[in-house]
Amino acid sequence: MAPFELVVPSSVEEAMAALRTAGPGEASVLAGGTDLLNDLDDHRTNPRRVISLRRLPWRTLDWTGNQLTVGSTLPLRALEQDPEVAQRFPGLAQAVQAVGSVALRHRATLGGNVVRSAPASDLIPVLLSLDAELDLVGPRGDRRVLVDRFLRSSRQVDLAPGELVRSIRFPEARPSAYFWQRVRPANDISQVAVALAFSPADHAWRVAVGGVPPRPLLLPEPARVLGTGAPGPEAVRRAARLAGEQAPFVTDRRASEEYRRRAVSALLVRAVDSVLQAPEFPG
């Protein structure tokens, strides 16, 4: 690991100043560190300064009616153990439980996962299906951005110099599910994954897939085919077929394109079943 200076600011202002005074590419931000430390070890990132967010008051979980706001540095383990999250955002709880291991989730954070934007992230598909937004703080003021717009490509996000993700906002509790396929159930990377959610406000579904390059994405057509409420078996079959046809899967060392296309259809069928069986499903 290349030597770096660890800076631990105790206020947001201090953190932004520490970011600002580092030159371009000279600073890395450390939330849980479970992804960043691997990059540091492999010299994929060679910062002169690492800015730890651990003293910032962002380990929060707040409800405003139907809306959930998760502080960016809240450990994933705390998020998955909140009974209200599991009940009102089941897809989110299921996705968090798919990440690494219990020990890893004691340090890994939702904010870190989004900003690091690994192409195989288990959390990003669910954030997309829930229309999650990020609240950013930065030298030019605060702004709010949809996760779908924030993500540019693999490991590339719309974060201006000096900006930090303060929290992740979920605008509406949604019946939802996250289903994945991988070699080992725990501590592995998903080959393919489906996040499904139903918006009671829009009477519309969201379908997002993981395991596609360069980053997880929403598939509007299968979502449309699922209709405005509980879909019948024919609609589910059509949506599953469309997901398999339309997701831009490729073959890589984890799985073949063909395998992924077939798996995504099966996962979508299971996800629909799971959402329809939830007592919270409207109608």
């Binding site: 030597p3 660890l6 560190g33 479970t34 691997n38 070890d41 291991s101 219990v102 020990a103």
Partner: protein
């Protein structure tokens, strides 16, 4: 004003660490600075669980944790003494079940279980204990004997 040196409380004993490098991982501090070789280095990427310790009672991958990030906190390792009843009980269960062969992964397994038992307030279910082991790899046992050790930790077990 000089800043006090970083301090770790390891198995109840405080260690001041003047000169601790900013980029040093907790795993290396334990093994090479404090000479506690019970915590093992496996993959060093968070994939094997061999380096698992407790930080303030929570299972933590010491290979993915900067030592300075846990400044002032309590670390529990496999070297914990008999006064740590949870760790002692798990060690006994592993011995009684013969749940190790080469033993390299064992400290990580024991600490992962200890974290879950602490989190559940002293008693964890079989499912919770097995979930806690999801990030621990063993290349010798085939896991069957480890599961038998887990069964000894569940109320009503053998």
């Amino acid at each position: 004003m000089t800043r006090p040196p970083p301090r770790l409380i390891v198995n109840g004993r405080p260690f001041d660490l003047p000169g601790l490098p900013d980029d040093e991982r907790l795993l290396d501090t334990l093994r090479w600075r404090l000479g506690m070789k019970g915590t093992k280095e496996g993959c060093r990427t968070g994939g094997c669980g061999a380096c698992t310790v407790l930080v303030d009672g929570e299972s933590t991958l010491s290979c993915l944790t900067l030592a300075k990030e846990v400044d002032g906190r309590s670390v529990t390792t496999i070297e914990a003494g008999p006064e740590d009843a949870v760790v002692a009980r798990i060690r006994s269960a592993f011995a009684a079940a013969g749940a190790l062969q080469c033993g390299y992964c064992t400290p990580g397994f024991v600490m992962s279980l200890a974290g879950m038992i602490r989190e559940r307030g002293g008693v964890a279910s079989r499912a919770e204990l097995l979930e806690a082991l999801g990030g621990n790899l063993c290349r010798c046992t085939g896991y069957a004997s480890i599961v038998r050790a887990v069964d000894r930790l569940v109320p009503g077990g053998p």
